[in-house]
């Protein structure tokens, strides 16, 4: 960044400083650790100077927000114009209960919705399926049919509020329910906005709620891309997610590299089907974790923007919007402690601040009680208030990318990028993302990192406040969310009534048409929409696809 001469002067001066000042200082105050490392095992130096970023060219490598390579942000005025969307991931029990929580969150200033589905829904089973035993409404809301979807969004203006839905295996079907619900209310497809997660690769890699094998899964995803840009233009048809990769135990670099690698894989799959990159790429979105190491996280988001812009340009994208890496962030659930749960508020604050300084488009802040159970109303309100304090009080929103140009941050951003490309090469050598999944590459990489993190914690090399230092003997005493015990019964009753009352010959006809289309190569979205409009259930629709596509089974490695 500086002139050559200045760099050499700085270099000279730094050596003197190390010799005369630093070495004396560490005699008086020896360093607390032999090595300072971040969570990606990078060694962090005592100081960073212009020399560490001497090869960076401001205009080429850093530039301005809203311009290539988008390192400093995708929007020119970022939070000076519009704050990020405050979007709390929520869902439990029945559709009615969750609907109440959504109204509660919106009343307290939330600006977007985010749906958590229960496990049976994530696997495409109706609530009364034998494998759903014990799982109803536990990890999210149970949605078995369009009737449940109608109740879930009762009283919420679908043309004004955007909704993100964490759904992958059956994403096309759940999306069809959302679209059908809007249409039944007279709101056209062009007017609704939101996101489906729809990222199956990271399911195989980390989150493990997959249904079908890779090939038909990729087909369904490309179907949604195509249907989306043609019919539901304000919808993000995928949220390419690092969050779950990180929660499964990866490092920040692995999260970054595996996520962007998955993203490129989706783009290539769509292009192989003959879709034009500038048609679908503007609707791709991302989802990252905000973990503990503050600067590492900020560098991760910044690097992600630059890498994505470069890669998309390389793949032939021309529209600026196709080059944008827009992302949602959630603070790291795996860092929450069951011990002294109130202190999680502090962890979440730091993580959320990193996401904001990294330029996130939307944010979920975890609640303090989530290492114990689903969040209570009070806990989730405090989590939302945390975002509001950052937005309204901290002043960090006054300028775009406030840390841009900081020697450490720019060096680290560059380093994250470098390490990401090393992983891209490794995956390439294994034959690409899907062969690497089949060989268990990502799964092993993540398991290794997770084990190392645990070991370091157990051996007190890594300090977790309240867990291995500053501990208390008392048991946590915060109220835990209680769910309506009648919810499951009500849901099953509703489902059985629906199966009796609807036009069953019509349902069967549409399911049969979907079966036939699935064996061919047509876009399945219109067929799925017909099934859903006729009130075929999630389970019935998924079963048809299970018959045609088969199911994915993973090999168990640890």
């Amino acid at each position: 960044m500086d002139e050559k001469e200045t760099i050499s002067q700085i270099h000279q001066k730094q050596r003197e400083w190390e010799k005369q000042r630093y070495s004396k200082a560490i005699q008086e105050n020896p360093e607390r650790k032999q090595k300072f490392k971040n969570l990606s095992e990078m060694e962090i130096k005592n100081i960073y100077t212009p020399e560490d970023i001497k090869d960076l060219k401001y205009l080429k490598d850093i530039g301005f927000p809203g311009e290539y390579p988008f390192l400093r942000g995708v929007h020119p005025n970022l939070y000076r114009g519009r704050l990020w969307t405050m979007r709390q991931f929520a869902g439990f029990g029945s559709a009615e209960e969750t609907n109440k929580r959504y109204h509660y969150l919106l009343e307290h200033g939330e600006t977007g919705l985010s749906v958590a589905f229960d496990y049976p829904t994530l696997y495409g089973y109706d609530t009364d399926h034998p494998l759903a035993r014990g799982e109803f409404g536990k990890c999210g809301v149970a949605i078995s049919s369009l009737v449940d979807m109608e109740l879930l969004f009762h009283g919420i203006p679908l043309d004004k509020i955007t909704t993100s839905m964490t759904i992958n295996g059956p994403a096309a079907i759940i999306w069809a329910m959302y679209i059908a619900n809007a249409e039944n209310q007279g709101i056209s497809k062009e007017k609704i906005g939101g996101t489906i997660q729809n990222d199956i690769l990271k399911e195989y890699i980390a989150q493990k709620s997959y249904i079908f094998p890779p090939e038909p899964s990729m087909r369904l995803i490309v179907d949604t891309f195509e249907y989306g840009y043609k019919n539901v233009p304000k919808w993000n048809t995928i949220s390419i997610s690092g969050y779950h990769i990180r929660e499964a135990g990866s490092t920040a670099v692995q999260e970054l590299a595996f996520t962007l690698g998955d993203g490129i894989e989706y783009v290539k799959a769509a292009m192989n089907r003959g879709l034009m990159i500038d048609d679908f790429a503007p609707r791709l979105s991302f989802f990252f974790n905000a973990h503990n190491d503050f600067f590492e996280e900020i560098a991760k988001y910044r690097a992600a923007r630059r890498i994505w812009a470069k890669e998309m340009k390389g793949l032939g994208a021309k529209k600026p919007r196709s080059l944008w890496m827009r992302f949602h962030t959630q603070t790291a659930g795996c860092t929450l402690t069951a011990q002294q749960p109130e202190i999680n508020i502090v962890r979440v604050t730091m993580q959320a601040l990193a996401a904001v300084l990294g330029g996130t488009q939307s944010l979920h802040t975890n609640s303090m009680d989530e290492a114990l159970a689903l969040p209570s109303e009070k806990a989730v309100r405090i989590a939302l208030r945390t975002q509001q304090i950052i937005a309204e009080e901290s002043g960090v929103t006054s300028t775009v990318d406030p840390l841009g140009g900081a020697y450490y941050v720019e060096w680290l951003t560059e380093k994250m990028e470098e390490e990401t490309y090393k992983y891209f090469d490794k995956v390439q050598r294994l034959g690409g993302v899907i062969p690497a999944i089949e060989k268990g590459f990502f799964q092993r990489e993540i398991a290794e990192s997770a084990y190392r993190y645990q070991k370091e914690t157990d051996e007190n090399q890594r300090i977790i406040v309240g867990v291995n230092r500053y501990t208390l003997d008392e048991k946590p005493s915060i109220p835990i969310l209680k769910m309506d015990e009648k919810g499951e019964e009500r849901q099953i009753h509703r489902l059985q009534k629906l199966r009796k009352d609807r036009d069953n010959p019509k349902v069967q006809r549409h399911l049969q048409q979907l079966r036939k289309a699935a064996t061919g190569d047509e876009n399945l979205m219109p067929f799925i929409l017909d099934c859903i409009h006729s009130y075929a259930t999630l389970g019935e629709t998924c079963d048809v696809l299970r018959e045609v596509f088969g199911e994915y089974k993973e090999q168990a490695i640890y």
């Binding site: 035993r133 536990k138 493990k208 929450l336 290492a371 159970a373 398991a447 084990y451 645990q454 977790i464």
Partner: protein
Amino acid sequence: MKKIRVLVAKPGLDGHDRGAKIVARALRDAGMEVVYTGLHQTADQIVNTAIQEDVDVVGLSLLSGAHMTLFIDVAVLLKEKKMDDVLIVGGGIIPEEDVPALRKAGIAEVFGPGTPVDDIVRYIKKNVKR
């Protein structure tokens, strides 16, 4: 001395396998013989594997909140199959108030978030019954 044989199992639909894998590996590193079921196991499948592999310990992991049904299903079925002498332990996101009922059902100990893996190793070594 005979090695302790442990089945680490993931009942139900829960996909959170970080903890189960870490525990499986830590038990193996501590000299035990570990069988990991992988994901999405029914109680029947878990108990059948426990019988076939002739394990001394069954470790169940769940973070989905379904433990009151699924842990207890496994415990009941093990008892039915006369595997009463198998030590059953559990882990995951388990509220403190659920622990007494789980203990009563035969889950000898529950390990929550933040448990050092050595505590689990020590507990198993001390309490294994076979």
